[in-house]
């Protein structure tokens, strides 16, 4: 059975994480049965402006008072996210969740995985990291951003990786914090130096995912990538969010994804 539901979610907490990003804690009556990599469609205004909900990956689910809390990490890029950043606490939002297919955490837990997040790609990766840490499965975490102050939730990342003896590698494009350069380069360099991961779980900007996809296919590593296609419905009925798979099929990424194995996505980055 599909466990998704369209529920009212009260905005109970907001934290600024960086110049552009913030976290939201939404209170729901029941526990959202979300897995890392799954997402929700959230109303980002009242009335008709904006018209459509916006997709956000679930960053965590935890008990909250007598009910439950859903955590999101959001980057302000347009009118919907600007509204979320300013909506008063107490506002009731509409949340349709959990949607789509997330990471294969069982497979990730059975080996040492590399978790890779670029910028606001962190939420599903953080959720995966904290889940793996809870179950005691070892992993390393690569966290990249354009600048140091855009590296989000470093403490939580360090804690999660540390709890299972994993490493946290920080990278910034401007070199202000951690290693200079892309997170994918940092990963590939370590791999070339002999460090091994059988599975990579990643979310981030398209060029990062594309680089990871190429690298993983070349190296024979299974990479699960969380994609961000523009979405209208989030439930597979509008066909706005399709991605082309290696077999030529165009599938709804909100339904078959948003997490796909890189090998299936060959067609997506065809020049």
């Amino acid at each position: 059975m599909i466990a998704r539901r369209d529920v009212p979610a009260r905005l109970v907490e907001r934290r600024e994480l960086s110049p552009t990003c913030f976290s939201l804690l939404l209170a729901t009556m029941e526990r959202l049965p979300a897995e890392p990599g799954q997402f929700g469609m959230l109303s980002c205004g009242q009335g008709l402006d904006p018209l459509l909900r916006r997709p956000f990956s679930v960053a965590g689910v935890r008990p909250l008072g007598s009910g439950w809390g859903v955590e999101l990490l959001v980057k302000e890029v347009g009118r919907g996210t600007a509204w979320l950043r300013r909506a008063p606490l107490g506002t009731i939002l509409e949340l349709l969740a959990p949607l789509g297919h997330g990471f294969n955490l069982e497979a990730a837990a059975s080996t040492r995985a590399a978790l890779v997040a670029g910028g606001i790609g962190l939420p599903p990766v953080l959720f995966a990291a904290e889940r793996l840490a809870e179950t005691g499965a070892p992993f390393d975490l690569f966290l990249g951003a354009a600048t140091g102050d855009e590296l989000l939730e470093i403490k939580r990342c360090r804690a999660a990786a540390g709890a299972v003896g994993g490493k946290l590698v920080l990278c910034t494009d401007d070199g202000s914090v951690g290693e200079p350069g892309f997170v994918t380069t940092a990963l590939a360099r370590r791999f070339a130096a002999g460090q091994r991961w059988e599975r990579v779980l990643a979310c981030g900007p398209d060029p990062m995912l594309q680089a990871l996809a190429r690298w993983s296919v070349t190296e024979g590593v299974v990479a699960e990538l969380s994609l961000e296609e523009p979405m209208a419905c989030g439930v597979g009925v509008c066909l706005g969010c399709v991605v082309e798979l290696a077999d030529g099929r165009r599938v709804a990424s909100c339904k078959e994804g948003p997490v796909f194995e890189a090998a299936r996505l060959a067609a997506r980055w065809r020049p």
């Binding site: 018209l51 597979g236 009925v237 509008c238 099929r249 165009r250």
Partner: protein, 306 residues
């Protein structure tokens, strides 16, 4: 007070007037948990062609003020897969199913209908004529009354079930196409399909959609849809009409009924709220109770004008 919400579109009786629109409800089985198809007046399938189609490249959708533009490009699983994978289950659930049909040639429309005639539980067809006719240099079927009449007649010959023609709001002569569809044997007319529109990304200096143009839907177009429906109703007062375009609330439905619609379809609203058709239906019932309308049919064409 109990309200009789049933209605009829020509010979087809519907338990209530609220349908899910083509292209916004998949093949009827995607939202079983949120909006069961058997609770709706009918479900109209995503447009079906004889063979599966991959549709357009992405981006395919863009939001606009109180609306959205889509250029899905009629991606679909093909009529065969629909008949095998969905039709049976829809029938078992007791849903009323209208198959939205399209093709690039008249025979393709006919082929879809012929295949469906052999499937179970299909109540009728809705011809999507907003597609280019490759035999006529890409001109849309829905823009040329002669082509449209011939196409409708060809489809009419293939079925005795309900046959609706969905009119394009971009046609030069809306009422002319309405007449043509009726002359070709349509039982009812659905209107409107999406309005041709465009959005530009000012930063990249490119159209937002991969195909540049797409169709505008949502609340933004409601006032235009309502006007077009009413114009067609005035020109052809005895022809059953199905209203569509930007319906978000029960009171929107009442507007379309008063303007002459026998039933309505809900499209983009489903993307905002998968259960929108059910909410709209209950708002409609509340309206009828508050306004002491015992039979929904009493509203149809009831506009007091002039």
């Amino acid at each position: 007070m109990r309200v009789d919400l049933s209605t009829a579109v020509g010979a087809l009786t519907l338990a209530n007037p609220v349908m899910a629109a083509s292209g916004t409800f998949g093949y009827g089985l995607d939202l079983l948990d949120l909006c069961p198809p058997e609770c709706l007046g009918a479900v109209v399938t995503k447009g079906l062609s004889p063979a599966p189609r991959a549709g357009n490249p992405t981006p395919r959708i863009v939001e606009t003020a109180a609306g959205m533009i889509n250029a899905i490009g009629l991606q679909n699983i093909g009529v065969e897969a629909f008949c095998q994978e969905a039709a049976g289950e829809l029938a078992r659930r007791g849903a009323t199913v209208i198959v939205n049909v399209f093709g690039e040639r008249p025979e393709q429309y006919r082929a879809v209908i012929e295949r469906c005639e052999r499937a179970e539980g299909i109540a009728g067809y809705e011809l999507n004529v907003s597609c280019p006719n490759v035999d006529h240099g890409g001109m849309e079927f829905g823009h040329d009354p002669h082509q449209l009449e011939a196409l409708t007649a060809l489809c009419r010959a293939a079925t005795s079930k309900s046959l609706w023609v969905k009119l394009s709001p971009n046609a030069p002569d809306l009422v002319g196409t309405a007449h043509a569809a009726v002359a070709g044997g349509a039982d009812a007319l659905t209107l409107i399909n999406t309005l041709r529109a465009m959005a530009i990304d000012p930063y990249r200096r490119r159209p937002v959609l991969a195909t540049a143009f797409g169709g505008l839907s949502g609340p933004a177009i409601k006032p235009i849809a309502l006007r077009m429906l009413y114009e067609v109703h005035c020109a052809l007062p005895t022809v059953p009409l199905v209203g569509i375009g930007g319906i978000e609330t029960g009171s929107d439905v009442v507007e379309f009924l008063l303007a002459g619609a026998s039933a309505v379809q809900v499209g983009t609203a489903i993307f905002r709220h998968p259960a929108a058709p059910l909410r709209i239906l209950s708002e409609l019932e509340d309206f009828c109770v508050a306004q002491k309308v015992g039979e929904l049919r009493a509203l149809i064409g009831g506009l007091r004008w002039p």
